[in-house]
Symmetry: D2
């Protein structure tokens, strides 16, 4: 059994940094990775939806995975291998594992509807990539339009020994975490790790419901690490205080589409990536939006000095 | 032209209060209305999606509208008349207007896709209810799955003289407000009122982008009124301070489905409605969720004494 | 247990005839009903999707149901009561039953996704209308976007004693009929009637798979009656010959949207309704489409003299 | 300007033949190609949706395209390059063109809704693959859930000089063909080729409405060629006679999902591919369905001797 079933802490969803001309910026991958490690990340996930994975071709995807795997050393790297078909998914999954990835993440195609379709899809995917490849379910109905009940997730876990983790980003989703942990307590489901996405919008309570941490790409992963740590240490109020200070910006970043523009902009402002460039289709950050972000950063800086950035 | 084109301030989305046995609770309608008026609401919207409108039959719908219209006196009441067909929509619209409603709100059926379908639908709806009935567009893609560009909204406004207001709840939506106000400035669209929904999640910036206020049902409409007022008075930081203090709870309430349970629970905690009962299909508020809400209220009370409620 | 569990033959989906000014044409209801009875229909379904049910208000809906119930005498009339909420659904269901309806038909709201949501919805609907009201499931994913597996249908049947019939219009759907009849054979599901819709496009094989007949509104219900009868008599080739002769027109009529225009046009050409008028939103039948229909009728008339109509 | 703007006749949608073990069956590609050419196809389209394109990885996709291009010699081969992102789309498009493809076909992602989103997507795609690559729009709302009005198609054609053809498979779609040809007549749109898909279900009338022919994979492409030829020769009744004889089987094959199983089965029965194997996710053809296909073939053989096949 993969050690990922015991994963906890924060696995940032890494953006794919591009140079202004659209080329992959490998230097920023190194800088970003170093920062992730320094602030206490326990792993990383690359080639996710907000890692602009669909905008890379097969060769580029592997190169990005390789760069993060090298930078993270012995810490686990999860590679998003979601694809419209199993052949491309298998190719990327097996090549990533050969490079040292710890596991792969798969989101369902947005045409799935019934419980049987969803469970059947994951069974086929697990078989396609090979039973030796640790598998992370991505459950993100807001983006993928697929609704998985707790019972369906339990079924996927039971059907596939290689399933080790849930990237939880249902919305609302607090009761889903409680239900899954309840399944573990009543013995009807084996333990898997649950790391939460959804931009972190409910991370404060998700930890209290039984999640093991976060897997999301908010531009202050250091805050995510602190909140998860404080919750594990039982410092509930302190965790909420820190989280609440970030909530206005975090909410702003969680806007679909435009959110990636905010995220890359703030990461660039923090000096963690060289450019906020996206590949097409890209989200535009208007000048008004930039000033709103500056306002939010300035307000945040009163509570968290990490937000005190040099002026634009 | 209806005075609603100049509407501003806060029009709460009123819940429909039920007794524990599911009967409409008219006494709570009066109490709630009195509170709305006392805290500075400038109007109210009834029979919205979170007013559980689809759970009332034709007779009940009219009775609820009538009760709010009587309670609000000379202040405007907007009645949601969204319906699967134009005959029922027309009947409710005309009967509501006869009772003294100021206008009606219509959301599009979730099967509309193309720009022509959306514009065509509103033209047919406006004709069906009668050109003398002031019409509010509800633009809520997260719930209704219909995506209206600013240009389509401009087209609806141009096509239908009776269109007076936009209930704005696109997500993300800040740029949409800017685009629509830009249309007004460049003379390509006449002025309409824009009141914002979406649970209030971006009310802080929506006001700054040119919205006239809020139309949403957050359980502290008094906060909404204060934020809109502070923004109108130019007290930006104070507006954000108050808003940010509420954001953790507001975000919690904005969860689809479960949100209505939170909202009715808090309204009941505040003594504004007698029961938090919903009609089926109802959202369940778990005991854990209730304790989370209590925790959020207690934290909020440190910043806003209106959240200091007697213990459960 | 309602006799509807044993229903077979043809229940036409009755259009709602309108006069050119949009008023309900009760004289045509009588004429149409008389024709349905004369050609061997064993029941009728009113206020279905292609009966333009959403375009009637509550009073009109009941008047249409009443007119058909009176015309059909002792033969069963099923009333479509699909509604956005249970209050309106209950009101129409109970008033229809009081008038002599044999049962009601309910389609699911197009937002349902998971198996639990679908089963939960039908349980709530059955409870809302009352356990004494025979209930027909409408399973039409192409229009309603809800996908019910055979196991979910079995679950609805098990959960709700009042469920007596399936209006089957999944596409593809032949294996679903076989699966459901298999459930009956293996004892895991009690018997219900299965009548097939979907414009009749697969009626030839649906009968052979175990369906009890048709519930659809094709403009030649007399053909539907003959095909179902021939299949019951074991005259397979004759059934297919007749069906295949109609297939070019039947396929033409089955086009979403425009199909209702074709259907009402042909019914008017046959003298069965006075006008092909629809209420808004209406589908337009272009002059080219009309000549195509004439061409199809002329070709059909070589095989079935009922299609030999006086020139336009 | 690419010669494809003048394309007419039949471009079969080629299935990707697999051996029973899932390997690509290149021998069957040659045999199938030879048959397509012999029966009068004027081109071919590979790696379409029913060519199981998503089930191939990048290397395999190119190998399949190459095999067809070689077999078709000087006749045009269109390569489906639909992909979740532009990088992979560009790579396959440019490599295919380098091998001798005549153009590429692109279907929109199923998340597009507004007119602007659709037009914007095609502009970005055309730019991504390069302005020198002839582009075919695939308009298939039933499968891709994207609804393009005639005006949006006109806009795509105006925006992108490289757009040469429409694969038309809207449903209903006859009026769309008339509208587009009307745009050409009124001078508001330059001429493009229109070839029709949708399983051929309306090919009889599509030709009469102004389509240039068919682009679909029905297992009797020889019939498609004959119908298009007869229509061009003005033999309308003969065209319909032949088409109608095939309609029962053609309709059976057009069922979503299961249809590919029928198609490959019949192609194998005709000796055109060695195996009906599909890669996962595959559609299952039950033994009952196989006997239904045999029955349809036997009935068809009475009208078209090409359907007289040796017994199973």
């Amino acid at each position: 059994m993969s050690a990922l079933t015991q994963a906890h802490g924060v696995y940032p969803i890494a953006p794919t940094p591009f140079l202004d001309d659209g080329a992959i910026d490998f230097a920023s991958i190194d800088r970003l990775s170093e920062f992730y490690l320094r602030c206490g990340s326990t792993g990383v996930t690359v080639l996710g939806q907000l890692g602009e994975a669909p905008k890379l071709d097969a060769t580029e995807s592997l190169a990005v995975a390789k760069a993060f795997i090298r930078a993270f050393g012995s810490l686990p790297v999860i590679v998003g291998v979601t694809a419209p078909g199993f052949a491309a998914m298998r190719t990327l999954a097996r090549e990533s594992m050969a490079l040292g990835a710890a596991g792969v993440m798969i989101a369902p195609p947005n045409t799935l509807r019934t419980d049987d379709q969803i469970a059947g899809y994951y069974a086929q995917a697990a078989q396609a990539i090979g039973a030796d490849v640790p598998l992370v379910i991505q459950d993100y109905p807001l983006t993928f339009s697929v609704q998985m009940t707790p019972a369906v997730i339990r079924r996927i876990v039971a059907d596939n020994a290689s399933c080790v983790m849930l990237k939880h980003e249902d919305w609302p989703g607090l009761e889903k975490i409680s239900a899954l942990r309840g399944f573990e307590r009543d013995g009807s489901m084996r333990h898997i790790s649950i790391l939460c996405g959804n931009g972190g919008l409910f991370l404060d309570f998700e930890c209290e419901r039984g999640a093991d941490g976060a897997m999301t790409g908010y531009a202050f992963p250091d805050m995510l690490c602190d909140v998860v740590r404080l919750q594990r240490e039982g410092q509930r109020d302190a965790a909420h205080d820190l989280f609440d200070a970030h909530l206005p910006l975090l909410r702003y970043e969680q806007q679909p589409g435009v959110g990636l523009g905010v995220r890359k902009h703030v990461l660039q402002r923090r000096g963690l990536i060289a450019s906020s460039a996206q590949r097409a289709p890209r989200s535009h950050l208007s000048s008004t939006a930039r000033t709103e972000v500056e306002y939010l950063l300035a307000r945040l800086a009163k509570h968290d000095e990490r937000a005190a950035l040099p002026p634009l």
